[in-house]
Structures are given as structure tokens and as C-alpha cells.
């Protein structure tokens, strides 16, 4: 894996990587650390090998590590995002599965940001490229209710 885009699929994971890089940038100038051990302690296993390889590939000096951190941060922040408003909070595995499905559907390495709205009931509100589409039971009910003679 040479690209962070292939490893993370959700906004939650993106935020975790960015938070880790914030801490990493400070620690590399303040104290001598074992980069691999530090990464092993602060990020989930599926990201550890990639981060260790990516951050140390130009050298172990503070400047080199910082430069790589900056490149990685830019890559993470450049990944396009789709916002999904759902009627429940998906667990991590489900969120990743939905993220993978979104990538397969769009053909792009997108990230999914999740919002919660209980009134949706089922389905989701999808936001991307400045556009919004709702395909939910809430919308279904609202359309049915508007169809009545008296607005019911």
C-alpha cells in the first residue's frame, strides 16, 4: 500500500490520522523517539505498517519526518468527502463497509462523514459536490402525505 487513500474510508479515520500527525509533529522535535514504537502505540494496527514506512522513507531526522508528515497530511486532506446523514450511528466495521461501497459506486477514493438524524427512519441523506439527495423513509412518508387532497 503506497497511498493512505487505500487504507481509510471514513471521515472518522481521516480525523484520527490528522490528530496523530499533529501529535507526531510536536514529539519529533521535542524528544528522541523510536518512530515505529510510537506509531504502534498511537494508531490502529491496519495503519501502522503504512505510516511507519511512509514517514521514515526519506530518513529519521526530525526535518525529514516533519516533511513526510506534511506530505501525508496534504494527501489525507485532499481526499474527496461524501456526507451521509443516517438514522443511527454505524459501528466502525459497518462504516468501513459503507465507505467501501461508496468507493465502488463512485469509482473514486472517497471518504464518508456520518451525521445522525433519527427522523430519517431508514435510508440516508447523501451530500456531495454541493448537491443533496435524500432517499429515506422520511422522504417516502412526506411524499405520500403531500399527495392527499387536503394536503394530508
Amino acid at each position: 500500500m503506497n497511498d493512505i487513500k487505500e487504507l481509510i474510508t471514513t471521515g472518522f479515520e481521516r480525523d484520527n490520522v490528522v490528530n496523530f500527525l499533529d501529535q507526531f509533529d510536536q514529539i519529533i522535535f521535542n524528544s528522541a523517539i523510536d518512530v515505529k514504537s510510537y506509531i504502534a502505540q498511537h494508531v490502529p494496527p491496519y495503519l501502522q505498517l503504512f505510516l511507519a514506512t511512509f514517514l521514515t522513507q526519506t530518513g529519521l531526522s526530525s526535518d525529514n519526518l516533519f516533511a513526510q508528515s506534511k506530505v501525508l497530511r496534504a494527501q489525507v486532506n485532499s481526499i474527496p468527502t461524501i456526507t451521509l446523514t443516517t438514522p443511527f450511528v454505524p459501528d466502525f466495521e459497518m462504516a468501513r463497509r459503507i465507505g467501501t461501497f461508496a468507493r465502488k459506486t463512485t469509482g473514486m477514493p472517497v471518504l464518508i462523514d456520518f451525521n445522525l438524524d433519527l427522523t430519517i427512519l431508514g435510508g440516508a441523506v447523501v451530500e456531495g459536490n454541493g448537491k443533496v439527495a435524500e432517499h429515506s423513509f422520511r422522504q417516502y412518508f412526506e411524499e405520500k402525505l403531500k399527495g392527499g387532497k387536503h394536503g394530508i
Binding site: 461508496a102 459506486t105 463512485t106 440516508a124 432517499h135 394536503g151 394530508i152
Partner: protein, 225 residues
């Protein structure tokens, strides 16, 4: 002497004739006035009768309108339930949700149906009772007004009565509109609440995930993502 007597008789005849003519004229005038008054009274009575019929008809229309709304909303609720059962209850439905036959979801759809019917029934009963009570209340007020009128001697009484009827008509009209608008809003709200209470909890996480994927696929088709 004789001539004087004849003259006095003639004068008396003329005098009494004039008096008789005067009273005759007075009587004729009074009869005409009475006739005019009776005609006026008749016209007012007809107007009042017409107003009363109009009010009765409007109350009847209010109930018809309420009944039509109720029937239509019940029909929509039934359609919603049938369509939900058809689309979600089948194994290869248009939403591609696989549900095990006889699971909790189907049972909860039944609960949704019962809950909607119960809530509808309660609200409908309340609406019709309100209209009935209002009609009775207005009838009582009108009876009291009629009793009060019998004691009055004013010539403008009938006009007052017509004005009172017109005011009553306006009050009924306003009440009907407010009550029906309130009913309309509450029906919408209770359908949404019942659906949210029952349906939102009924879907499993796997079903929710499939619905989200379906939403993503549709959004892609629409060019949103």
C-alpha cells in the same frame, strides 16, 4: 223658525259627516299600515328562515368536510401500511431488503397499523364531538335569544335578530376553519410520530445498511456523488 231648524240639521249632518269621513280615513290608513307591517314582518321572517337554513346547511357541510378528510386520511394510512408491507416484507422487493418471514419487523408493522388506527379513531371522535357540541351550544344560545326577543317591543327588533344570526353564522364559519385546520396538522403529525416510533426501531442494522447503500446508489444515478 223652520228654516233655522233645517239649517241646524244640515250643519249637524255636515259636521258628523266630516267626523265620519275622518275616522274612515284614519281606519283605512291604519289598515294600510298594518298591511305594510305584516308584509315587512313576512319578509323578515323569510330572511330569518333562510339564514337558519343556511346555518344548518353549513354545519352539515362542516361535518361532511370533516368526514371526507377523515376517510381520505384513513385511506392514506392504510395505503402506507400496505405499501410498507409489500416493499419491506418481501424477500426480493424493490428495496432489496431480505427479511425473515415472521420476524419482529412484521409484528411491529402490525403494531404500526393498530397504533395509527387507534390514534385516528381518538382524533376523529374528538373532532366530531367538538362539532356536535358547538352545534348544540349555538342552538341553545339561539333559543335564549328568541325568548329574550318575545319580551322586547322595539320596532327594530327583527333587524337585531337578523344581525345576531349573521354574527352566529360568522362564528360557526370561523370555528369550522380553525378546527379542520388543526385536525389536518395533527393527522400529519401523528402519522409521522407513529411511523418513527415503530418503524425506526423495527429495522435491523443489516437492513439499515442495505438501505444506506441503496441511497448511495440512487444518489450516484442522480449525479449527486
Amino acid at each position: 223658525m223652520m228654516n233655522w231648524a233645517i239649517l241646524i240639521v244640515i250643519i249637524n249632518l255636515i259636521f258628523f259627516g266630516a267626523i265620519a269621513y275622518y275616522f274612515l280615513n284614519v281606519r283605512i290608513t291604519m289598515r294600510e299600515e298594518q298591511k305594510d307591517e305584516a308584509e315587512k314582518q313576512k319578509r323578515l321572517d323569510e330572511k330569518i328562515e333562510k339564514e337558519e337554513e343556511k346555518i344548518a346547511e353549513e354545519l352539515s357541510n362542516a361535518k361532511d368536510k370533516a368526514t371526507a378528510i377523515i376517510e381520505e386520511s384513513e385511506k392514506i394510512a392504510e395505503e402506507l401500511i400496505v405499501e410498507l408491507e409489500n416493499s419491506l416484507g418481501q424477500k426480493e422487493g424493490s428495496l432489496h431488503v431480505n427479511l425473515v418471514v415472521g420476524n419482529d419487523f412484521e409484528i411491529k408493522l402490525g403494531e404500526l397499523s393498530s397504533k395509527l388506527k387507534r390514534l385516528y379513531s381518538k382524533r376523529i371522535h374528538s373532532l366530531l364531538s367538538a362539532l356536535e357540541n358547538f352545534q348544540v351550544d349555538e342552538a341553545q344560545k339561539f333559543t335564549a335569544f328568541e325568548e329574550q326577543q318575545e319580551e322586547m317591543t322595539d320596532r327594530n327588533l327583527q333587524q337585531v335578530r337578523v344581525e345576531e344570526l349573521e354574527k352566529m353564522h360568522k362564528r360557526i364559519e370561523q370555528y369550522k376553519e380553525e378546527e379542520l385546520a388543526l385536525f389536518d396538522q395533527k393527522v400529519k403529525k401523528l402519522i409521522e410520530e407513529a411511523a418513527q416510533d415503530v418503524l425506526g426501531q423495527a429495522l435491523t442494522s443489516q437492513e439499515q445498511e442495505l438501505l444506506i447503500e441503496k441511497a448511495l446508489a440512487k444518489a450516484k444515478e442522480e449525479g449527486v456523488i
